[in-house]
């Protein structure tokens, strides 16, 4: 087991290197760089340019040097906690993004929690009541849920909220808390607003997992050991929970690791539609204005977050299912 964990951590290193390269590519791909664009703009407006500052920045990030030197500097700085400078916000990147990454993680993890909380019992119900009216209703809702991309669901919820209930579902905090420092009241306010993005982000995956749970359980229930247990007179509930449900859960647990990338991905675009103070809108803005270090840091951190949680869920899986070989 220890061996397994060590090897998995070992495997993470190349993954992280590739992620950093792709993130850096995102930084580098746009033609020109932010400074050149900015200088041109400022000159056009006849504004005073702090030449020293710009030169210092140019020097620090090696903008005149070959690409691999820039990459090296970038990675080196990140390893020392320096994610670069956000031109747009005129502040170091790490100061700008901390809270937003945290909020993204909160939404994603809450959504994951909701997915399993809903999908497992509903899936079990659907399987044990196969071809009943309720099962058909669940199936139809699940299929529609599967067909609804996050941001369209967000759009529709916004629309319905506004037209039918006359409420605005935009944002993650009430206006009085938006810029307030963290407090118990602010957390409470967050919880009040959290459910909308969580529903938006989680619906598709809930529908998917529900179908998987139902299908697996049905397969499991058709196996001879279930009949044997029933023949021995085991009560239905005990029979169900003792083995078939456990077996059917396995693919769901192993699916945990690819769920988080999906959640973070969904949360990003949902946040744009719902105007949430998370990574989405800021990443979009950074990409639009070529605020490259900010955008690069976002992509790097979001990807790293998913890699680490993939590792955690794999370890969890190995720990929960003794049949998984650590090899």
């Amino acid at each position: 087991m220890i061996n397994y964990i060590i090897r998995r951590i070992f495997y993470m290193i190349p993954t992280l290197i590739i992620i950093s390269m792709i993130s850096f590519a995102v930084i580098q791909l746009p033609p020109g760089d932010y400074l050149t664009t900015k200088i041109a703009q400022l000159q056009a407006q006849d504004e005073l340019i702090n030449v020293d500052l710009i030169e210092a920045l140019r020097e620090e990030y090696g903008l005149d040097q070959p690409i691999y030197v820039q990459y090296g500097k970038w990675v080196w700085n990140i390893l020392h906690g320096d994610f670069g400078y956000s031109w747009e916000w005129q502040r170091p990147v790490e100061e700008v993004i901390g809270e937003r990454i945290l909020l993204t993680a909160i939404i994603s993890f809450t959504a994951m929690f909701m997915i399993y909380l809903l999908a497992i019992p509903v899936g079990i119900f659907s399987a044990t009541h196969k071809y009943s009216v309720a099962d058909y209703l669940i199936t139809i809702v699940a299929f529609v849920g599967l067909a609804l991309p996050n941001f369209l669901l967000a759009l529709l919820l916004l629309f319905i909220g506004y037209v039918v209930f006359d409420v605005s579902l935009v944002g993650l905090f009430s206006s009085e808390f938006a810029n307030a420092p963290w407090s118990v009241a602010k957390v409470g306010d967050l919880l009040k607003h959290l459910w909308i993005p969580v529903i938006v982000v989680g619906t598709t995956s809930t529908a998917g997992r529900l179908r998987v749970m139902r299908g697996n359980l049905l397969d499991e229930l058709n196996k001879p050991y279930v009949m044997a247990a029933r023949a021995k007179g085991l009560s239905e509930v005990k029979l169900l929970l003792k083995y078939p449900v456990r077996m059917a859960l396995n693919p769901l647990i192993s699916g945990l690791s690819i769920l988080l990338p999906q959640m973070i991905s969904g949360a990003t675009i949902t946040a744009v539609v719902l105007g949430l103070p998370t990574t989405g809108p800021m990443l979009l803005g950074a990409l639009r204005s070529q605020d490259v270090y900010l955008a690069g840091a976002f992509i790097l951190l979001l990807c790293t977050l998913t890699v680490i949680s993939t590792l955690l869920s794999d370890i969890l899986l190995a720990w929960s299912d003794p049949r998984i070989q650590y090899e």
């Binding site: 061996n3 060590i6 090897r7 070992f10 090899e327």
Partner: protein, 336 residues
Amino acid sequence: MSADNQILLSVRRLKKYFPIKKGLLRREKGQVRAVDDVSFDIRRGETLGLVGESGCGKSTVGKLILRALKPTAGEIIFTLDDRQMRINELSDTELRPLRRHAQLIFQDPYASLNPRMTVREIIGEPILVNRETQIADLDARVVELMDLVGLDSRYLRRYPHAFSGGQRQRIGVARALALNPDLIIADEPVSALDVSIQAQILNLLSDIQQELELTYLLISHDLSVVEYVSNRVAVMYVGKLVELADTEEIFRHPRHPYTEALLMAVPRISERDRPETYTLSGNVADPANPPSGCYFHHRCRYATDICSTKPVVMKQVANGHQVACHRSRDLSLKGL
């Protein structure tokens, strides 16, 4: 059978070890000795039965001879009229001529036929890929083969899903015969079939053997099947041969306690035919971690001290009768 006693296939000290990899750096931590130092000859025109429990390595022997697997060590020499092929040394491209001379009949008549090909394509494939016949004559050749194995040639364009298990096995036999091979390795050819069908397929195999002067290596766990068609029988246990003799001899006078135990397990119509029965206890030795001395000693009811310490080798004990047992000379074992 032809009496010239010419040796067709000669297997010498054949070994196949599968590595076990473990740990952080996936270093080789051990080996599974699937086939461990096996030697035997097959004479032209005979049927050699290879028996043993499942997992003893008998199927691996078959795959090694056809080079579906590459041997770890040892020699496999195939003697044709004019030349010898050292199968163990051939490269992938050099193997192709071997395909004309040695073919395999599979155990599972369902998995071994591609469900997406018609009977014509299945039986014709070996001919086609070896460019044995003009494409125009392919149909005629396939029909000929179907007649030979007792399939209605009107079924030429049917898919395997149209056939029963026995019929499918006939298709498999026809495919094996397509290139006019000298040697056919039949790996449990009837164990997946209903008992009533088994005899039909076995009779088919011996009929075509006469007609086409074929040589068989019949791999089976079922002694009654082996008894029915084999001229000689080789018994395998945990990767090693333990006994080899004529069928009559080995069934009447087994010299190895393991063979005796296997014979005890053969069902007979009347218990009066059987002087005494006993069943083997314990588990088959682990080929990754075999016991010292004779691999069979911990299950053997005749075992003495020497059996657990000194390794055994095959020795000739009578004309054409080889056995690997320390006590073969002082035991008198019971046959059928």
